[in-house]
Symmetry: C2
Subunit: 267 residues, 2 copies
Amino acid sequence: MQPTLAPPDEPIEALAESPPLTNQAVAPAFSPLYQQIKGLILNSLREGQWKPGEMIPSEIELAARFRVSQGTVRKAIDELAAENLLLRRQGKGTFVATHAEQQVQFRFLKLVPDSGSRGSEGPAKREIVECRRTSASTEVAKALALRAGDAVLQIRRVLSFAGTPTILEDIWLPAAPFKGLTAERLSNYQGAMYALFETEFNLRMVRAKEKIRAIAATDNQHQLLNVAPGTPLLSVQRVAYTYKDEPMELRHGYYRTDTHYYHNELG
Amino acid sequence: MQPTLAPPDEPIEALAESPPLTNQAVAPAFSPLYQQIKGLILNSLREGQWKPGEMIPSEIELAARFRVSQGTVRKAIDELAAENLLLRRQGKGTFVATHAEQQVQFRFLKLVPDSGSRGSEGPAKREIVECRRTSASTEVAKALALRAGDAVLQIRRVLSFAGTPTILEDIWLPAAPFKGLTAERLSNYQGAMYALFETEFNLRMVRAKEKIRAIAATDNQHQLLNVAPGTPLLSVQRVAYTYKDEPMELRHGYYRTDTHYYHNELG
DNA sequence: CAGTGGTCTAGACCACTGG
DNA sequence: CAGTGGTCTAGACCACTGC
């Protein structure tokens, strides 16, 4: 038998139309209560019921809403916090994670300078080289789960550290969710690009996959990065996903690794 | 006040000489019970009290030993399992993680073929090119927390996939813990090198850090990997650590990325 | 001080494994 | 069937934050 979530007393946004959560199908794959709670919280996050940086209801409050014990809510929140979707702060509350926090400004940028930690080289300079609307190639369409020819935004930018151009990025975004994004807004924004996505478009990038290769600088790559043509560069192809694993960004990065390296931890 | 672990009834290996765990120092940094339990289990792992692949005592048993509730032991084990040091299997028990399991054969190798998943290309061919005893350079000594000139083993090997030499690795190991390691034993061993380290030397690599760069193939690199000199290669410098964060291996890898890519997940 | 998350307990019951 | 880990509860108390 499945553990079930009784319908809440008062209709609550997150639960208003949640059907009774039982799987009495043929193969009733067991789904513990806390996983169902986790799914409900995830839905609320996805629907933007609580915005990035905001505090979500307390454990006690959620336990009352869901009519389960505090421990069960706790386990659901624990997992979401482990996935960096929520942030617990003792004595204060639980908050929706955001890219705007200073500590996680570079959570998705694994390039660090050879000597000294990040920041020792001063703030990064971000320069938008290009920002235009085009139609998706088959490759871009596949990565973003679009159809070939669908409208996309293409952005090219260069990041410089300590005055040295170090990263060249080509970025593709589906045009529809990013309606209204312009080169001006990108250029004027201080801070991480993903933070802008959150505040302006309510799109939070929660995870990403990268394919990393070594290539020789070609075309205008060597010009924009101020290196000799043929210089080995790190090619970083990233697809970033939002809450429900929808691909929302394709990014081809080219990193100089003569003064920086890509840092990775294996566990 | 600190939560304290009462001394166990019977002297148990893991706890025989554990002092009463209180921090009544000036700044009594609060350390919850389950963290202290975690530390004790970690000590047992480090001392090899339970070998890789073996089952550790049940939660109930450990709770009795430590004179705490099952839930407290559970939280300690949860964290160790999350760090891939233990492996929980419902209905069976909790086991010391190992590199010998099929599923985690390649947990530390992030290079995957462009098309198809790993394994689709058949088994990897491992060829030991060199294995000799030398003295540590300052660089190697620093990475392995040795003194320059200390004895180290240096290994060079080439990994081939589908008949194509793809990975060249230079490996340095401290000579003392690896006493008795020879080219023959390396060549004859089927399976992951880290699995051999476990079974033959009781040294388990639990985590590692990698510095990744793009370089141009030089010297004999291009010969051993059968590519043109100057071909861009992925340079992967890894330091691997055992249970208590002692560095135990330095490995410089050179990956061809024309048919494979380095895969990374960001979360 | 009240409110939050964090720890710890004791006990009941469930799901899974293997003999 | 017994033994294991997994879930869930109810309650007590602690540590931290901010008013």
